[in-house]
């Protein structure tokens, strides 16, 4: 039993679980339709695998990722409050600025997580990605932002496993 079979069976189990959770109707007809859909999708995936050997890999450690998720929630809450104060204050003290933030993630997934985390925290926003740095737009820029973003960068790099993807 090779790695490919394991992947296909894992995909089938995942899709079946998704179907069962989403439908919530456990009648023979609906379950049969679900089984047919799962088999069809797995067959198509297996066929397309012969076109290219491109596999989705997640070079992230699961436990550290969950920790990062909760850390990110705290960051989002804090940033939300800061931006809410700006929007609600009558004068709206804005010092907007576009600046470059270097990233240290090796894998594509890590870079995507870092860029999306920057965008998800209100007040900062990834505008452009380039080799070695992101262009980030900030609503209320201060030099501390660079320190905060470098801290976030270190957090994202910490959840990556060594394998470069």
């Amino acid at each position: 039993m090779g790695k490919l079979q394991v992947r296909l069976i894992g995909t089938a189990i995942f899709l079946s679980a998704l179907w069962l959770l989403m439908s919530g109707l456990y009648k023979p007809l609906i379950l049969g339709l679900g089984a047919v859909s799962v088999l069809l999708v797995v067959y198509v995936l297996h066929r397309m695998d012969s076109v290219d050997e491109d596999r989705v890999t997640l070079p992230l450690s699961p436990i550290a990722s969950i920790g990062y998720f909760f850390w990110l929630l705290v960051e989002i809450a804090r940033a939300n409050w800061a931006v809410t104060k700006i929007v609600l204050s009558p004068k709206m003290p804005i010092t907007q600025h576009l600046f470059a933030v270097p990233y240290t993630q090796k894998s594509d997934v890590g870079q995507v997580i870092f860029a999306n985390s920057i965008t998800l925290t209100p007040g900062t926003l990834t505008v452009e990605t380039d080799l070695g740095y992101f262009l980030v737009h900030a609503l209320d820029y201060s030099p501390d932002d660079l320190v905060a973003l470098a801290d976030m960068d270190a957090h994202v790099t910490a959840i990556e496993t060594e394998r470069a993807g």
Binding site: L21, M22, G24, L73, I76, A77, N80, V83, T84, V87, L88, M92, I94, T95, Q96, H97, L98, F99, A100, A115, N116, T119, L120, T121, P122, G123, L125, T126, V127, E128, D130, Y133, L135, H137, L139, Y141, P143, L146
Partner: protein, 116 residues
């Protein structure tokens, strides 16, 4: 226990509604396109997370909660992606943001100095 869940879901839903209105107010009130993006990201992050958490607490441990969390995960990934897509399209089309920080105070290097 039921009481705590009830109160918590009240808090989540009311504060989620508050942040949604604040975000929309930001989209309406902020002075230019680049700042409006930040207003939208309030209702995209805080509003969505708090409202869906509040609804999930009302639903309890059922399949509805699973569905709510699937919606949350989806919005969590696509929200920043579409914000980035809009911002990037605007930048590529030539809508440059204005900078309020004088260049001599900027500690970072400027990636395209000729465009200043």
């Amino acid at each position: 226990m039921d009481m705590i869940v009830e109160v918590l879901s009240w808090v989540f839903i009311v504060s989620g509604s508050f942040f949604t209105i604040v975000g929309s107010l930001g989209v309406l009130r902020l002075p230019d396109f680049w700042t409006r993006l930040h207003g939208m990201s309030i209702s995209d992050s805080a509003g969505v997370i708090l409202l869906i958490l509040g609804m999930a607490m009302q639903a309890g441990l059922t399949l509805i909660t699973v569905k709510l969390f699937i919606i949350l995960a989806f919005l969590f990934i696509t929200g920043p992606t579409s914000t980035h897509a809009v911002a990037n399209a605007a930048l590529v089309s030539g809508l440059k943001p204005r900078s309020d920080v004088p260049p001599e105070k900027d500690p970072e290097f400027n990636p395209n100095p000729d465009s200043k």
